[in-house]
Structures are given as structure tokens and as C-alpha cells.
């Protein structure tokens, strides 16, 4: 049974169709990467699933709660990290977490220990008594993660949690998300492919308000993988000749040559593996590099969404 279930959801802002019949399913315990170009409808979806916005039509369920008629049931089940988490700047992180704890009805001792625990998790113990007003973007993001976790939510919605951060900050936040695996179901929206590749085990790709594909990451890579090999050698004329001869073989799709590197797309990986190296040696080539190209999510993404929509 899926923890997050969205069926044929639409959201219209006037003439703009932000969501156009979106389907989405997230199994319990997964870290789900919600991937799409800017403006694809990711934030709108998360806002609807957290109860901040209402869909024009469609069904949405989160942790067994109907989002459209949730009442008070939803807030206790979910945690939400908006794209730009906002805080009361006059509060300190400790006061802020304590306030949230009160809202969820935690006892004084529970609030104390939970705040301490979370501040340690996001490594903010040393600034726990400073005013939030002076915090950097990265610090706010980390505090936002802590704030989203205060009540042990079943489902965590993270909107572009790492996108605006510098590499160090990004690594920190992604490590945090990695550590949440098993504790909560995580739905993380992003337009950065590398982040999804690092932490997500399920991927949903959205464009123009529609779900294009939804699948485990590995299956997605396999399905959309272009089997390819790269061969690099110093003797360029010999390499080019060998490349021409390869084109006539039945298991080769295409051969392109660039700067002393041949890129060979093949129909049958097994045959290619058996034949390529032998062929190269037979052609008298001294190879600098021979590599089976692992497909990246970026390749998949480009195939699905088209290159024009990637920034």
C-alpha cells in the first residue's frame, strides 16, 4: 500500500494548468525523488499534499488521510520543509523548536530532549541560543529539517532541500536525508539530477504538470540506458579506420569520433563486450581507455523531458 497516493490531480491558476492530471504513488519507507524542470508543478504538488493549497480536481491521500478533507489529522502525520523555510527571526533555534513542540503537545521534558536531539542531528548545538535573524541560507535549511522532524512525522515533504546551497551545504543536507531512510517516507522535489542519484531509491519525473515516468531508480536507468562504450587511443588515424570498420558490424548502432575518442553505441551489450577489446587489439591499437558508459539520470531525464527544459 502506498503512503502517498495522488490520482488524476489538476490545479489551475486561471488559464495556467500547473497540474494536469498528475498521478503519484510513494511506497512506505522510500526516499522518493520528485524530479522535474522548474515550473513543472513540483512545488504545487507538495503544497497540495501538505494542505497549503487545494487542487482543482483529483484525489490525494497521505498516510491514510484524505488531504482534501483532512481537518486536524494531516499536520501530525507530515513534516514539510518549504523551498525557503521562514522563521521568526527574533527567536533562537531552541525557542523555535520548543514552540513547535508545544504545538504538537509534547511535554516539557520531551520538548527539551527532542530539541537537543534534533539540534545535534543538524549540527547546530553551538548556535542554539543565537537569534535566527542572522543565520545563513544553509543554517536555515538545516534548522528547517530539524523543524520538520520535531514530531516524528510519517511522511516528510522536502521542497528543493539542497538546491540553493553551496556544495558543502548540499552534502550536509543530503547526508541528513540519507540518514532518514527507514525512519520516515521522504518525498523530495528537486531539479538537480545528481541529488536524486545520490539519495533517492524511487524517482518520479514530472513535466508540465504530468507524471512522465515513475519507477525505482535502478530500473529507470536500465530501461532508458543507452548501451554505449568509449575507446580512447593516441593513434588517431588507426582509431578512425577501426571505427569505420565497426560501423559495418550488425551489433553496432553508431560510431562517433571526437578528439581521439570513439563512442560506440551498441544493440547488444554482451556481444559488444566480447568483441570490442579483441577487435581493438586486432586492429593494432594501443588503448588509453576502454569504458562501458554507465547511463546517468541526466541521460534519462534528457530523453524524457527534452533538452530545452533543463537549465
Amino acid at each position: 500500500m502506498s503512503t502517498v497516493h495522488v490520482e488524476n490531480m489538476t490545479k489551475h491558476y486561471g488559464a495556467v494548468h500547473a497540474l494536469d492530471g498528475l498521478d503519484l504513488d510513494v511506497a512506505a519507507g522510500t526516499v522518493y525523488g520528485f524530479l522535474g524542470p522548474n515550473g513543472a508543478g513540483k512545488t504545487t504538488t507538495l503544497r497540495i499534499l501538505t494542505g497549503l493549497a487545494r487542487p482543482t480536481s483529483g484525489k490525494a491521500q497521505v498516510a491514510g488521510v484524505d488531504v482534501l478533507h483532512a481537518g486536524n489529522a494531516l499536520p501530525r502525520k507530515i513534516g514539510h520543509l518549504p523551498e525557503e523555510p521562514a522563521f521568526y527571526t527574533w527567536m533562537t533555534p531552541l525557542e523555535f523548536l520548543d514552540y513547535l513542540g508545544r504545538l504538537y503537545g509534547l511535554s516539557t521534558s520531551a520538548r527539551k530532549s527532542r530539541s537537543k536531539e534534533l539540534l545535534a542531528l543538524v549540527r547546530m548545538e553551538d548556535v542554539s541560543k543565537r537569534r535566527i535573524g542572522g543565520f545563513s541560507r544553509g543554517m536555515r535549511q538545516r534548522l528547517g529539517v530539524a523543524a520538520a522532524l520535531i514530531h516524528h512525522p510519517e511522511v516528510l515533504f522536502l521542497d528543493e532541500p539542497a538546491s540553493a546551497l553551496d556544495p558543502a551545504g548540499r552534502k550536509e543536507v543530503l547526508d541528513l536525508i540519507e540518514n532518514l531512510r527507514g525512519q520516515a517516507t521522504v518525498v523530495m522535489s528537486t531539479h538537480i539530477l545528481a541529488d536524486v542519484e545520490r539519495v533517492c531509491d524511487m524517482v518520479g519525473i514530472i513535466a508540465k504538470g504530468k507524471m512522465l515516468v515513475q519507477s525505482p531508480r535502478e530500473a529507470l536507468l536500465e530501461r532508458y540506458a543507452v548501451p554505449a562504450f568509449e575507446v580512447e587511443a593516441d593513434d588517431r588515424p588507426a582509431l578512425a579506420n577501426w571505427g569505420e570498420s565497426l560501423k559495418r558490424l550488425p551489433w553496432v548502432t553508431s560510431v562517433t569520433s571526437q578528439n581521439g575518442t570513439l563512442r560506440i553505441l551498441v544493440k547488444d551489450v554482451k556481444t559488444a563486450k566480447a568483441a570490442l577489446l579483441v577487435g581493438a587489439v586486432g586492429a593494432g591499437l594501443v588503448l588509453n581507455r576502454y569504458e562501458e558508459i554507465r547511463p546517468s539520470l541526466e541521460d534519462v531525464f534528457l530523453q524524457l523531458v527534452g533538452s530545452e527544459s533543463v537549465s
Partner: protein
Amino acid sequence: MNFITVFRKEMLEQGRTYRFLIVAAVFVAFGLSSPALAKFTPELLKAIPGVPGGIQAFFPTPTVADAMGQYIKNMSQFGVLLALLMTMGVVVQEKERGTAAFFLTRPVSRTTFLLAKFASMTVAFVVSLAVAALGCWYYTYILFEPIAWGPFLALNGLMLVVFLVYMALSLLGSTIARSNGIAVGLAFLSLIVIGGIGALPTIGDYFPGRLFSWGASLVLKGTDTAWPALWISLGIILAALLAACLVFRRQEV
């Protein structure tokens, strides 16, 4: 159910951002200086060198009525201004900054969110007005004569009702508005409508501003009453709060 928690946070915020301090300082300063200025302004004018002696005749010896007049005039102007200024940003700023969105995914109902704000502003005004009234009463007592507690309390109660009218309207504006500028505009629109029409004869008898003159009459042992204006004022407060809650409930933040 989380009302107390949110209310506590609102009170803390008013303290930290000095909003409470501003209201208290303005109220107390005018509470004290009104009777003092009523008493001494004629003296001060006489003390200015070069003012012809004959002008003294234009300044009759000040009485308790002048003290009360000053008090009501100052409090009505600055109290209404503060009610607008302190309230007009409270919702729209949370929407603009994104703190509203952050909290509405929490177990806080939108009604609680709004009413806790109104309640905490009300407390700030009640406390500030109480201290100001106490100061004014004491200064009037030592500079003029003691005034009866009952009517004076009623005067301050009536003034508070007027402040709450503007506060509720300003809160409604802040809830409707999408940007700070619009909230400011709506707050002052309410001032123009309620204050402006209230200044007209006859129809003004039914507007909140009428409560000031009723209060003045009360402390000066007059017989004037304006019950319709009081009911209408309370009605405006309730209607504005209800409208704010309904608007906010449907709003996407």
C-alpha cells in the same frame, strides 16, 4: 486548543519586537502629559516674553474639563493611529515572509492563528491604556481635583472599544491583502471610511467615534448617551473578525 501556545508566542513577539513597548510608551506619555499640558499651557504662553499681557484674558483658568479634553483628544488620535499601525502588518508580513505557510502545516488552525494575534494586541492595548489612565487620573487629581472612578473607567472602556474597531478592521485588511502596501492602504481606508463618515452630523451618532464624546460627557457628569454607537462598534469588531477568519480559511498562503 493550541490557542494559549500561539497567544504566548504572540505576546513574546510583541515584547521582542518592541511593539508592546511602543504602545505602552505612547499611551502612558499622553496619559501623563495631557492633564499637565492642560494645566500649564496657559502659564507657558504667559511666560513667553513679548506676549502682551492682555492675552491672558483669552486663557481662562484651566479646569478638569480641559484636562479630560486633552486626554481624550490625544488618546483618540494616537490610539487609533497605533491600532492601525501595530495591526496592519501582522498577517500580511507572515504571508510575505513565508512563516504563515510554515505554521499552517502544523496543528494550528487558521482561526487560532488570527484570534491569537487579535487577543495579544488587545492585551497590549488594555495594559497600556490601564497604566495611562492611572497616570492621567493621578495627575488630574494633584493638578485639578479627583474625578469619579466609575465614569473615568467607562470613558477608557469606550475608548478601548474604538481602538478595537480599528484593530479588527486593520486585521481584516492584513488578512485580505497579498502585499504589505495593500494592507497599509486597507488600514487607512478603514480610517477614512469610519472616521470620515463618523465626523458627519446625525449619521455620525451611529459611528465608533461618537463613543469619545459619550465618554467625555460621562466624566464631566453630562447626561449624553450613545448606545447605538456602542452596539454598532461591537458589531463591527465581531463582523471584521469573522470576515477575517472566513477569508483566511479559504486563502492559499
